[in-house]
């Protein structure tokens, strides 16, 4: 697994650049709001709606707030929601996939049919509904986003579990009298955790995107707090006169997504090359894993 990660990060100039960029994004999100002389909602009355200057590197918004500070504290919000939502999706997807893969047969069929059906539904609708029903707060937002992002993970874990289940050491454990719970906890989960972890990181850009989308519509993070979606939404309203309000937050979001995607592609390729059992064939009998 370690070699896999190293290869994915250092594999090419592109992935190296993406990795450095992502580290920089995280570092900026952590450091800039702390180091900036301006707070998130400080108003600079001498610089309302001002283009970038030495004092305000990203300019200011219509209320005179420093956009550099807002963009990076928005990054804090967007990134932490993405991480927490991904954690929630792991908590749902991994047990679901493991149970389906382990029980097999009809239960597995039924569970995977449910995943198939959910795949077809526009999930953002449900996130919006949940936000409407339970009020707009960031905690709910990440739980809701996590609750709709576990489908891929469940499929991957199921495929892995199906493969692991046939390994000799599982038979050996069973022969030695290990119970079902012990087999799952000690033998199956540790062996599916690597790919599961990798696929979990692959869901992060999707969640960043979904959060920014919901905040853009005014249903997510609320003023005076910022997330990338909030800032882009504000910027889009002001862009006719103040391009910087749109271009900086949108640019940061795009660069972050791009880096995530470049690394994600490489990671996925590396996993495939390792001939991991991933049920990615579109039409393959009963969807059982092929390969070793």
């Amino acid at each position: 697994m370690k070699e896999l990660l190293r290869d994915a990060v250092l594999g090419s100039a592109w992935t190296r650049a993406s990795f450095v960029t992502l580290c920089a994004v995280v570092a900026f999100a952590l450091l800039v709001p702390a180091a900036s002389p301006w707070a998130l909602d400080d108003v600079d009355w001498n610089a309302i709606d001002q283009a970038p200057t030495a004092a305000h590197w990203f300019g200011t918004d219509g209320a005179g707030r420093d956009l550099l500070t807002r963009t990076w504290s928005g990054g804090r919000v967007s990134l932490s929601i993405a991480l927490l939502a991904t954690a929630v999706s792991v908590l749902i997807g991994v047990p679901y996939g493991a149970v389906a893969g382990l029980l097999g047969g009809r239960v597995d069929q039924a569970m995977m049919r449910v995943v198939d059906a959910l795949y077809a539904l526009p999930f953002v609708l449900f996130v919006i509904l949940l936000v409407v029903v339970f009020g707009r707060n960031p905690y709910l937002l990440f739980v809701a986003l996590g609750a709709v992002s576990w489908l891929d993970l469940a499929r991957i874990v199921r495929g892995q579990t199906l493969a692991v289940r046939q390994e000799a050491y599982i038979d050996a454990a069973r022969a030695l009298g290990a119970g079902r719970a012990r087999i799952v906890l000690r033998h199956v989960l540790p062996n599916v955790s690597g790919p599961a972890l990798v696929y979990a990181t692959l869901t992060i850009p999707g969640v960043i995107l979904a959060e920014s989308f919901i905040s853009f519509l005014g249903l997510g993070i609320q003023e005076p707090d910022a997330s990338w979606g909030v800032l882009i939404s504000d910027g889009a309203r002001a862009m006719q006169t103040s391009w910087w309000q749109l271009v900086f937050p949108a640019g940061v979001l795009a660069v972050t997504l791009l880096s995530c995607n470049v690394l994600g592609d490489r990671l996925r390729d590396a996993l495939d090359r390792r001939d991991t059992v991933v049920p990615r064939t579109t039409v393959a009998g009963d969807g059982a894993p092929s390969g070793s």
């Binding site: 077809a120 882009i232 006719q240």
Partner: protein, 311 residues
């Protein structure tokens, strides 16, 4: 195959019913009601309003009533837009959303397959690298980024196209392009990968070896096989496009379904939200059924009933 399709149809109906049920009860347990306005209503007025909309009945009765109405094609009155039924609002919004969404999907899938095939045929050449990079970059530009930027460039700075509204064909161009872009990237990547795999298959190598012109090899031997994953992506793509269309309708001030959904959600207009969800879910499920039909045309294994649809 008939059995397969009947099964799919049944599954779609069950899914639709599940969606309606979940959303119905979700909205009913929500704190706050549709009549919490800025102006407090007197208790009598509110009681009368609740009675008029049958909100005073037991929950299960309301649910039964709603299902009955749905079967008759009635989506009920809008709680907020008092002079309109939900059906009327949706009938106004649906054509707008379908036009933009359909165009965007056609654009994304059509151009994506062309670009992906082009890249795969020039594998590892400069054209392939360029297209692959463009596709990766394209995925990083979601509608919330692309739509305002396109308006900024083509409407504000250059003044070539209108920035919003829905009156002439020119009004459709920017929204459709903004909506299509990330999916164009996704289709390109998918098609490229699929064509690369198909090119290595024995029947394609035979076709090349016996000297068929490239064009014929691609059209007759590569694409029918390579398109299968592309077709299977149409369903999820349509569902995702739908979400994007909410942003697009917001940015371009289009009177589409997405705006009604977002506004209904913000105003707690239960019937409007329910109605849009029902229409969305029906449209997506119907589209997926159509995709399945297409699938059976493309994949003889399903047509001959030898296997079910896998993942």
């Amino acid at each position: 195959m008939t059995r397969y399709l009947a099964g799919r149809l049944l599954a779609s109906l069950v899914t639709l019913w599940a969606v309606v049920t979940v959303v119905f009860f979700l909205l009913r347990v929500a704190p706050g009601g549709p009549f919490d306005g800025e102006r407090r209503l007197t208790p009598e007025v509110e009681a009368n309003l609740r009675a008029a909309y049958h909100l005073d009945e037991p929950l299960l009765d309301q649910y039964g009533r709603y299902l009955g109405m749905l079967l008759r094609g009635d989506l009920g009155p809008s709680f907020r837009s008092k002079d309109f039924t939900v059906g009327e609002l949706i009938a106004g919004g649906l054509p707008v959303s379908l036009t933009i969404g359909g165009l965007a999907l056609a654009l994304a899938a059509g151009l994506g397959v062309a670009a992906g095939t082009g890249a795969a045929l020039a594998r590892d050449g400069p054209r392939d690298r360029w297209l692959t990079f463009a596709a990766t970059a394209g995925l990083a530009f979601p509608p919330i980024v692309v739509a305002p930027l396109l308006v900024l460039i083509f409407a504000v700075v250059l003044g070539w196209l209108p920035a919003g509204g829905f009156t002439t064909p020119a009004h459709v161009v920017l929204p459709a392009v903004a909506l299509a872009l990330p999916y164009l990237a996704a289709f390109t990547r998918l098609a490229r990968g699929s064509v690369v795999q198909t090119l290595a298959l024995p029947h394609v190598r035979t076709a090349i070896a016996k000297g068929l012109p490239t064009r014929r090899v691609v059209v007759r031997h590569v694409l029918p096989t390579a398109l299968i994953p592309v077709v299977s992506f149409l369903g999820p793509a349509a569902a995702a496009l739908l979400a994007g269309s909410m942003v697009i309708e917001e940015v371009f001030s289009l009177p589409g379904l997405g705006r009604y959904f977002v506004q209904g959600a913000l105003n707690r207009d239960y019937t409007l939200v329910m109605g849009t969800v029902v229409v969305y879910a029906t449209a997506i499920l119907a589209f997926n059924l159509a995709v399945d039909l297409l699938y059976t045309r493309l994949d003889p294994r399903i047509r001959l009933g030898r296997t079910r649809l896998g993942e």
